[in-house]
Symmetry: C2
Subunit: 176 residues, 2 copies
DNA sequence: ATATTAAAATACCATACGGTACGTTAAGTG
DNA sequence: CACTTAACGTACCGTATGGTATTTTAATAT
């Protein structure tokens, strides 16, 4: 997971993984069956460990502005996201993934977008809503912008630049 | 260029290129010297052919709103950008490129951002400016959003969805 | 202590890549 | 027509990948 997180997953070979983990290749195959199975397992673990933080932020049910700030800080400022996000890295190179991993990517994506949409629908009901976007549109938009921010960080862009960009992009959802 | 445009450049081998072009591999090496030289040549030609359109739109010196609409339509609706953009595809996988190509990518990027910045500075002087972003910030922001749109199209996302996303993102630069 | 079985790593396979040595064809020259 | 020279493509090289057959190690049972 560390290797996939730091570098592009497409550039991390199983040989390198085995060397890093001090594990023989047949051992890895005994446990995970194939590269696809292994990558899927890495992504699942990453989702539980890291991506869950996004769901946590949404589940708090805080006001819109506060929640947006939380998401912005997570994607652009959080030190652990300095080298980007395994999920978005894999999503960006989906065609290179095996079917199991692609499936997991797609499930995680729906999950995230749905969580955003549900949160925004609640905000609309509470009249804590300031744009004329639908909850569905806003969810996809925020998802894309978070992905962009994390991709920029993976590319080594300055954290503050990514922050101001993301603040700008999500300001369309804010009052006034 | 067609192959790099349709697929991810990293997934197009020189063997495939030679087969497609009905050219022997030594012939390609006699002309371009290395894969890096070849990819750089492809990118240069692409920039002249396609990316020049962005510079054209800016060079017209049209009002801000009209220019933004032009950029949005180009990135999200133009049929020839249906499979994304060679430049942004290569930029996304910079670490896989040779030094010559990386250099060209970086030059093209500065060129595009500078063109945007210069255009925005002119708009500010004409008092055709409605956000509190600096011309520099706006240039980098618009560049990133166009890149996002073209990446989304390359990933097969629906043209209309990309369009509304980009309209939303660039609405921060518009009046009202 | 020895025979049997289960587990784990070494050493290997086929494939595809970027890149090139070398034999072959074709063009120019007397 | 013969001879030289330049271009060109076949066939190959070294390397790295995902994946496995085979051998070696370790543990268990007699």
């Amino acid at each position: 997971m560390a290797a996939y997180w730091k570098d592009d997953p497409a550039d991390v070979s199983l040989n390198a993984v085995c060397a890093l983990a001090a594990v023989s290749k047949p051992a890895l195959y005994r446990v995970f069956g194939s590269e696809d199975g292994f990558v899927r397992a890495v992504l699942s673990r990453y989702a539980e460990t890291v991506l869950s933080e996004i769901f946590d932020i949404l589940a708090r049910g805080a006001p819109l502005s506060e929640t947006l700030t939380g998401l912005i800080r997570f994607a652009s400022l959080d030190a652990k996201m300095q080298t980007g996000c395994v999920f978005f890295k894999m999503r960006a190179g989906q065609h290179r993934l095996g079917p199991q991993t692609r499936d997991t990517v797609s499930t995680l994506e729906s999950g995230a977008v749905n969580a955003l949409q549900t949160y925004f629908e609640t905000r609309q009901r509470t009249e804590d809503w300031y744009s004329d976007l639908t909850a569905d549109q806003a969810a996809r938009y925020v998802f894309a912008q978070i992905g962009l921010a994390l991709t920029q960080r993976a590319a080594g862009e300055d954290s503050q630049t990514v922050y101001t960009d993301l603040v700008t992009a999500l300001s369309v959802l804010r009052p006034g």
